[in-house]
């Protein structure tokens, strides 16, 4: 019974949060003298209105799925990897080098690029992991600092080492190495398929294997796991590497599927977005992916909303932020003892009436 109510609250809370956030967003629009119905129409049309728009939404969701899975995996092991952005970027840099400099093209190049991206992301995730288990460093700080380093490093790559003759950006990856679209007329590519496969694999690993069980145990109670003889440090390090590799793979896939070249602003903000989505999805890989699509839809739609009605895209940013603010607070609320008591009292009263 308790388990049922728990899982019930775990999706009722985000649902209510989303409705509340939209309500606030609509109030803001009314205050600005805009018609919220118009704005919502454009928002929805921009995100889902036709095949092309829905394709754009899915294409936009792809990198977010990768970074949110990256955050999700690390948090399941109890470590806060805030470095998704840096790992994503390093992955794309490595993939870019392979795509432009290896001389290989076509499917082998794609596989090599994705592998290089995974490796680079894994290495970038390894650094905070190693510093945490050997020097007791706060992984959040280290991984955030590494985000800045990665962004600047990418800057060196596109302004110097792989510069496209005249412009501060790298050359585009060769056409044969670009990830193909799944359906013509829709922008999303096989990168999305890879993302979904990765999500399902993580789901399988976390919930259906003993390794995943132990990893989650470490996440829930590190001390108890240590007493039970689990190699806690090894799990922490592994989770960092894997989570970095997921982000790195995402960076490589984004490069080959959507952006084709490194340029100023590539990947900016994806790491923190991923963290937020993983949290709203309550660290469940599949729910996390759905949340990523939902946020991507909000973003894609908000551009059309701004173009069509003049409601600035920051209204959509506020709605997104409020979803997070409400969801996290709501989840905490349902875990409070007072809340449990209240629910218990309500239930017993109902039970009494029925009897």
């Amino acid at each position: 019974m308790n388990k049922l109510t728990k899982s019930l609250s775990s999706f009722v809370v985000p649902l209510i949060s989303i409705l509340l956030a939209f309500l606030v967003g609509m109030i803001i629009m009314v205050c600005m003298g805009k018609n919220p119905a118009d704005a919502l129409y454009f928002l929805g049309f921009g995100a889902f209105g036709n095949a092309a728009n829905f394709g754009t939404t899915l294409s936009k969701a792809t990198p977010l799925i990768f970074t949110s899975l990256c955050a999700c995996f690390a948090y399941r092991c109890g470590v806060f990897n805030l470095g998704g952005e840096g790992q994503f970027i390093m992955g794309s840099v490595a993939a870019c080098y392979v795509a432009l400099r290896s001389g290989i093209t076509g499917v082998p190049a794609m596989i090599l690029c994705l592998a290089a991206g995974m490796a680079a992301g894994g290495v970038w995730g390894l650094v905070p992991g190693v510093l945490k288990i050997t020097r007791g460093q706060n992984e959040m700080i280290i991984s955030i600092m590494l985000n800045y380093v990665a962004t600047l490093f990418m800057g060196v790559v596109y302004t110097n080492w792989l510069r496209d003759a005249s412009v501060p950006q790298t050359e585009a990856v060769p056409n044969e190495t670009k990830l193909p679209r799944v359906l013509t007329g829709m922008r999303f590519t096989y990168a999305l398929v890879i993302a979904i496969v990765v999500g399902l694999l993580i789901y399988y690993f976390l919930f259906w294997t003993s390794g995943g069980f132990k990893l989650r145990a470490v996440g829930i109670n590190m001390t108890a796991s240590r007493f039970n003889g689990f190699p806690v440090k090894r799990y922490i390090l592994t989770s960092f590497i894997v989570s970095g590799a997921i982000a790195g793979l995402g960076g490589a896939a984004e490069l080959l599927g959507t952006q084709f070249r490194l340029i100023n602003g590539f990947g900016a903000g994806y790491g923190f977005d991923g963290v937020a989505m993983a949290l709203i999805g309550q660290l469940h890989p599949i729910a996390t992916m759905v949340v990523a699509v939902f946020f991507a839809a909000l973003r894609t739609g908000s551009m059309t909303m701004q173009a069509g009605t003049g409601v600035p895209t920051s209204v959509s940013d506020i709605i997104q932020a409020l979803v997070i603010v409400f969801t996290v607070a709501g989840m905490a609320l349902t875990k409070l003892p007072q809340f449990e008591q209240l629910r218990y009292r309500l239930r017993s009263r109902k039970g009494g009436n029925a009897a």
Partner: protein, 309 residues
């Protein structure tokens, strides 16, 4: 290396360090009460915007700073309510603040200034020379001819050091971050101290943000906090949770930043991004060298439930 170069480097160091210092001191007050707030970036962002807006409208930098502080407090109260009363996870909620507050700042800016293409500028706070002291050769102009906010920040550092080391109130405050349950048995209202900590943290982070637009740059640009919230977080750990240590840490970061810009001006054909990496890499290296021994408050980031026995 002439004295002018060194003097200018020191001046730039101070300029870069002050906003960091304000934000870090806010975090220190938070963490001493067990509140690990990683939402500093967001608090500073909203403080920066409100500070600019109020200065722009009223023409008073002081009012701008005050309102920046109030905005920081207001946003941080959301965090306080969620983490103290609802016992939500600190890190998670700090992230929520980091996403929410900049979005709010950007929205307010657009609504207020949005349609025009005029560049909005304000008059910055003027430097005040301290009579007598400013005549000391070399150091006089360097250290005693600053904006009042610099002196105030230094005063806060000194006050904080005395407060936590020498006063009973400070010891009680620290007890909340170390052993909240023990503190409660001594009659300290843990919840009240935690809320107070969030008020101070929000106010100082808000002022830190507002400093950027009232004392540093006379225009507002989105994203002007530019990672200072995160560096400030590092500075607290780096400074071993003491105000003196944080002062040194912030000066160190300020120095790296100032040096980075000067190296870039005299660039030697090295891509400028490598210079820009210096502060971040220095942070990682120094934190690693300082090592594992965490001297942080023991109950940092842990929820406190009164009912639990």
């Amino acid at each position: 290396m002439n004295t002018a170069f060194i003097a200018n480097l020191i001046l730039a160091t101070v300029r870069m360090a002050i906003p960091l210092l304000l934000i870090s001191l806010g975090e220190l007050y938070g963490q001493r009460a067990g509140m690990v707030n990683i939402g500093l970036e967001g608090l500073a962002a909203i403080g920066s915007l409100v500070g600019f807006l109020v200065s722009f409208v009223t023409g008073s930098n002081w009012l701008g700073l005050l309102c920046g502080a109030l905005a920081g407090v207001a946003v941080n109260m959301i965090y306080a309510f969620a983490t103290v009363t609802l016992c939500a996870d600190h890190t998670v909620y700090g992230m929520a603040i980091n996403i929410f507050a900049p979005a709010l700042a950007s929205f307010i800016y657009r609504v207020y200034f949005g349609s025009g293409s005029e560049l909005s500028q304000i008059t910055l706070m003027r430097g005040v020379a301290i009579p007598g002291l400013k005549n000391i050769p070399f150091f006089g102009d360097l250290l005693f001819n600053q904006t009042p906010m610099v002196y105030i920040t230094v005063a806060i550092v000194i006050f904080t050091a005395i407060f936590f080391k020498r006063t009973q109130a400070g010891l009680n405050y620290k007890a909340v971050g170390e052993h909240p349950r023990a503190a409660a048995t001594l009659g300290i209202s843990v919840i009240r101290v935690k809320y107070l900590a969030c008020v101070i943290c929000g106010a100082l982070a808000g002022i830190g943000g507002a400093y950027l637009t009232t004392c540093y740059s006379n225009t507002y640009t989105e994203g002007n906090v530019a990672g200072r919230g995160f560096i400030a977080l590092a500075a607290v750990i780096f400074g071993r949770w003491t105000s003196g240590g944080i002062l040194l840490a912030c000066l160190f970061f300020g120095f790296c930043d100032a040096l980075q810009i000067r190296l870039q001006v005299g660039s030697f054909g090295i891509p400028y991004q490598f210079f820009q990496m210096i502060p971040y890499i220095a942070t990682i290296v120094v934190l690693t060298l300082i090592g594992a021994k965490q001297a942080g408050p023991k109950a940092n980031g842990k929820p406190y439930r009164r009912e639990q026995r």
